[in-house]
C-alpha cells in the first residue's frame, strides 16, 4: 500500500485490510472542482459573526488572522449558503473562471 498525499493506493491484493475499514479521510477529494460559482469575502465588511461558518455543510470556512471569514477553495462546493446567510452581505458569489 502506498500513500500519495492523502490518497491511498493498493498495489496488490495483500495490501487490502482484513475487513472494510477506513484507512484515510475524504480530505483527498478536491470537491472545489464541483463549483460553478465561488464565494468571495469582502473582509472590510465581514464582522466575524461566524454565521457563514456554522451553516457551511462542507467545513470550508475558516477564521483568518484578523478574525474574518476565509474560504477554503479546495473543498468549497459553491452552494451559496454563506452568501445568503451573511447578515451584512460581505460574501458575494462570482462566476467561477475556468
Amino acid at each position: 500500500m502506498k500513500r500519495d498525499g492523502k490518497k491511498i493506493i493498493f498495489e496488490k491484493a495483500g495490501d487490502l485490510p482484513p475487513m472494510a475499514m477506513s484507512l484515510g479521510t475524504t480530505e483527498y477529494n478536491e470537491t472545489g472542482s464541483w463549483r460553478n460559482e465561488r464565494p468571495v469575502v469582502d473582509s472590510s465588511k465581514c464582522t466575524g459573526c461566524g454565521i457563514c461558518w456554522k451553516f457551511c455543510p462542507d467545513i470550508s470556512i475558516k477564521e483568518d488572522a484578523n478574525g474574518k471569514a476565509s474560504i477554503d477553495y479546495f473543498f468549497c462546493k459553491g452552494c451559496g449558503i454563506c452568501a445568503v446567510e451573511c447578515p451584512v452581505k460581505a460574501i458575494e458569489m462570482k462566476e467561477e473562471e475556468k
Binding site: I8, P17, A20, M21, S22, L23, G24, T25, T26, E27, Y28, N29, E30, T31, W34, G48, C49, G50, W53, K54, F55, C56, P57, D58, I59, S60, E63, G67, K68, A69, D72, F74, F75, K77, G78, C79, G80, I81, A83, V84, E85, M93
Partner: protein
Amino acid sequence: MIYTIPQKELINPGHLACQGCGGALALRTVLKTLGENTILTFPACCWSVIDGPFPYSAVKVPLFHTAFETAAVTAAGVKAGVKKAQDPNTISVAWAGDGGTFDIGIQALSGAAERNEDMFYFVYDNEAYMNTGVQRSSATPKGAWTTTTPTQSPKKERKKDLVSIIAAHAVPYIATACVAYPEDLTKKLEKAKKIKGFKFFHIFAPCPPGWKINPQDTIRIAKMAVENKMFPLFEIEDGEKYTINMPNPKKEKNVPVNEYILKQGRFRHLKEDDINEIQAFVDKRWEKLKKLAEI
C-alpha cells in the same frame, strides 16, 4: 470569529454530499456536541454515500455501516459491546434517514425504544428516499412531488406523525430540531447527553435536488418551516411532558405556509385550494401541540 456552537469539527471536508445538503450539515452540527467518544451506526441512506468510498471516511469517529432496516438494533448492540469491552460512557448513535426510520426501520426502532436502550437515535428528515432518487416515504408531506408520486398524482397521504409514535413508548427524551437552528439543537444535545436511556432526535434537513430548491436556500427554507409551524421545535420528556421551544415566538405569530410552499419545485403544481388545505392541517396540528404543552 464568534462561535455559538462548539468549534471542533468531527467530520471532514471532501465528503460526497450534494451542494447545500441539509443532512451533511445536520451530522456536522450533532457530532460537535456529542464529541469524540461516539460510535456511529449508519443504515443505507445518503450518508452511506456522503461518507466516501472505501477505504476513506468523512467522519472522525468509528462508524459502522449496517443494513437498511437495522439502525436501532445495531446501535443498541454497539452500546452493549462497549459497556462490556471498553468505556461504558461511549455514546452509541443510530443515524438514519426518514425512509430508514419512518418506514423500513420502524420495528427495530420501536424495539430499541421499548427496551429503553441507552443510546441516541437521530433521523435526518429530508422527506423522501433521496439516495435512490427521490421516492416517497411516509415522511413525505401531502401534496409533494416525488418520482413515485408524480405531479399528475402527488402524494395523497399526510406525513406520518412519528414523534407521537415514539412518545407512546414513553422514552426519556424526544426532541425535534432543525439545521437552521444549530444553537437550539446543541442545547438539546447537551441536555440529552445527561439522560440515561433512549433519546430520539427528529432533525429537519432540506435536500436541494430532492426538493427542487436552489442549494443556497437550504437554511432559508429550513427556517421558514419552523416559523410557519410546518416543523415546530419542541421536546417531550418521559413521553408526556411537552415543551415548545420556538426560537422567535413574536416573529413567528401567524406566518403562513405560502412562501415556504411556493419556493420549492416539489410543490409547484399545487393550487390555491391545496395550499389552503395544507395551512388548515398545519394550524390544527399546532393547536394540538399547544394543548399538549398546556399553553
